[in-house]
Amino acid sequence: MSWESVRDELRLLRTTGCRESEKVLRLGKTLLSGNVSKLGDEMWTLYEQLFIAALDCGRQLEAESYVVSLETQFPDSVRVKTLRGMMMEAEERYEDATAWYDFLLESETTNAPIRKRKITMLITQRKFLDAIKELTEYLESFMSDQEAWLQLSELHMKQMDYKRAAFCVEELLLVDTHNHLFHQHYAELLYTMGGTDNLDMSRKYFAQSLKMNSNNLRALYGFHLACISLPKKKDRDTEKWADWAEQQLLQKYKALGDHNKVAIVQEMLRTIRQSQ
C-alpha cells in the first residue's frame, strides 16, 4: 500500500468513526515509519487517533507516548486534557477521571465530548439506568447529536425497551431525514414490537428505506416479512408487494452465482408464505 493510500484510509476511518483499532495501529505504524513531516499538522490528529486505538487495544505505554507528545505540543488544549481523562478511564480510575472531567467542565460547561465521556464511564461500569438518565438529559441540550441518540437507542434495546429505542430513532429521522439506514432500523424496531399497526408502519418504513437505497438488503427482507405478516386489506395489496419483494430477492441472489444460496432463499420464501 502506498503511503498516500495508508494516510487516506486512516482519514476515512477517522471520519466514519469505524472502530477498527488493530487496523488503525497497523496502518499508523506504517505511516509513522515513513516521512512524518509530509503529514504536517495532520500528525497531531493522527496521534489522537492512534492514542485512542492504542487504549482500545490495551497498549497503555504506546498510548501514553502519544498523549504526552500531544500535551507537550498543546499544553492548554481541553481536547488533549480530555484524552488524558480517557487514559484514566482505561486504567479503570473512574473516580479520578470523573473528578478530572468535572474540573474541566467548570470552565467548559457546554463541552459535549466531556459530558459524553462521563456517560461512557457509566456504561463501562454497567450502570445502565444512570447512563440512560444522564444521556437523556444530555440530549435535551444537544438534540441533534446523532451518535448520542444511537447510543441511547442501544441502551434501551439492551433493556428490551423497544418503544423507547424507537423514539430515539424517530429523533434521528428528524435530524437526518434521508437516511435509509435509520428508516430500516426504525422499521425493524416496529416489527419487533409487533401488532398490526406497528407491522403496517414497519412495512411503510422498510419501503421508504428501499426507495432511498434499493440495495438495502435488510429493508428488502423486512418489507417482504412485513407484507406477509399483514392481513390483506382493500387498500393494502400486500400479496402483490410480497411477490415483488420475492422477485427482487431472488434476482439479487441469482446474480451471485451461488446456486446453494439461491435454493435456500427460494425455500425460505416458500416456507414463510406457507406459514402465514
Binding site: R19, E22, E154, T192, S202, R218, A226, D258, I264
Partner: protein
Amino acid sequence: VGMKFSLSSVAYSKVVLHACRYPHRAVNGVLLGSADEGGALRLVDAIPLFHFALGLAPMLEVALSQIEIYARTVSLQIVGYYQANEHLEDSSPDAIAYRIIDKIRENMTTPSSPVLLMVHNWKLGLTNDDIPLKAYHPTHEGKTWKKQEWEDGQLEGGLATLRLVSGLVSSKEHEKLVDFDTHLNDITQDWLNPEITKAVQLASTSRE
C-alpha cells in the same frame, strides 16, 4: 452433571473468532448439530448471526429460517445458541439469549434440549489453556438454565484446538469471519465461512 454434548473444533473456532472479530460488541450465533440415539448432542458447526442489535426480530427470523433450511441439506438442525456479551465482566446469559434459545428449543425435533454457550470474556486470551466458554443446560422444567462444567474430551481436539484457534487469531484470521450482519451489508459475503471450516478441518486432521 448436566447434558451430554460434544463440541467440534469447527464450531468452537467460529464462536471464538466471532467474539474476537468484534471485541467491543456483543455477538451471537447458532450451533448446528445432531443427536445420537442416547440423546447426546454433537455440535458440528456454528453460524454467526449478529454483532448489532441482537434481539431485533425481522433479521433474526430471516436468518433462522435460512439456517434451518441449510442445516437440513447436511442432515443437521439448529441445536444450540451462543452469545458473547459486550462487557468484559459480563458472561451471563441475558433476556435476549433466553428468548432466542427458547425459540430454538420449540423448533428442535430431537428429544434432547438445546445447548447454550456463553463466551467467557475474561478467559478469551491467546495464552489461556482453559476453554473460554461456559455451557448451560436447561433444568427439568426448562424454566432456568444451569451452568455445567466441561469434561475431558468434550471439545474435539482439546488443548490442541485451543492452540489452533489462538494461532488463527494471531494471524488475524478472525478479521475474515462473516456473520449474518456482514452478509446483509454485503450479499457476496458467505455466512457459512467455508474457508474457516476448511482451515480448521485441515489443521485438525493433520494432527491425527
